[in-house]
Symmetry: C2
Subunit: 182 residues, 2 copies
């Protein structure tokens, strides 16, 4: 499906960007809430997009001699990206989730061991939710206008918070069910 290709094209279509900054998006920024790739996957894919004439590259020097590569989208690149954006694909496979897998097999461990797991998970998801909510209040006090870059950022951030809320609610239901029974 080459989804990484389109993730890169989208970022480059927003304006010239380096491979390093693209990798940062995947690892620390808003994008990390729904896509991920290591730099070892990003650099070869950029090379490939260049070979396919979907992006161009400009070598620039930062400071004394440090080299950077600035990638820019081509007309074909933009066309292919928008064509992908408009596609309506079937729902992909449900995402894998190791904690749900452990829950599925929880009958192999004691109620108190599973309860401990649930508390640990709750802590991690509450922490993540807190971080997401602070990003939200820091950046937005109202819903950005559709058509701006900010709308996309806002929508996926909101989606990430709602996903954490739902996960936390599920963990609490599980905790309730377990603790009322031992």
């Amino acid at each position: 499906m080459r989804t990484l290709k389109y993730a890169l094209l989208g970022l480059i279509d927003r304006g010239p960007i380096t491979g390093y900054d693209i990798s940062k998006e995947f690892e620390k920024r808003i994008m990390a809430n729904f896509w991920h790739a290591k730099h070892s996957q990003v650099y070869p894919e950029l090379k490939r997009l260049f070979d396919e004439n979907l992006i161009t590259v400009e070598l620039i020097i930062q400071g004394e001699k440090m080299e950077k590569k600035l990638y820019t989208i081509t007309t074909e690149g933009h066309a292919e990206f928008v064509e992908w954006l408009l596609r309506d694909e079937p729902l992909g496979v449900t995402p894998k989730d190791v904690f749900r897998l452990r829950t599925f097999f929880s009958d192999f461990i004691s109620a108190s061991d599973y309860e401990q797991h649930l508390h640990s998970q709750l802590g991690k998801h509450n922490f993540k939710k807190g971080y997401l909510e602070s990003s939200m209040t820091k950046s937005y006090d109202s819903i950005p206008q559709y058509g701006s870059k900010e709308f996309g950022d806002y929508a996926v951030l909101l989606g990430a918070i709602m996903r954490e809320d739902s996960y936390i609610a599920w963990l609490k239901v599980c905790l309730d069910a377990v603790s009322h029974q031992n």
Copy 2:
């Protein structure tokens, strides 16, 4: 991380099972709500678990001559599985989501094109939610006791329904935001 290894060990630990039935779990059953593997990945992994002495195999004949392989867990296999179950691992990377990726880049398409996408997604997730809810009402009228196989089944099914609910709620917020602005 070899998570597939533990997913297989867990299924086999519930009782002797064939590779075919394991594949069915991943593709059609409750398990499909949080893990997935094709039979082309399952068969080689079973071979590997056998080589590692974590499972044993018994060849049985179904009907006239059709061969089946029944896998059973060994003492070491059970020990390794429970050891994994009790592990507390850090939160993995956030799952990839192509629709969130499209939303992130929605400023490249018109409001009405994005609105159409949202309606399509809503249809798919509502359908999935309906299917999950019918499985739920068909199988459970109360919360199963912790420690039973049924508790795990129930918990992950409930989690899947809550996940769909949250996704649908998010799609509706996006739809609201877009339709009030064009």
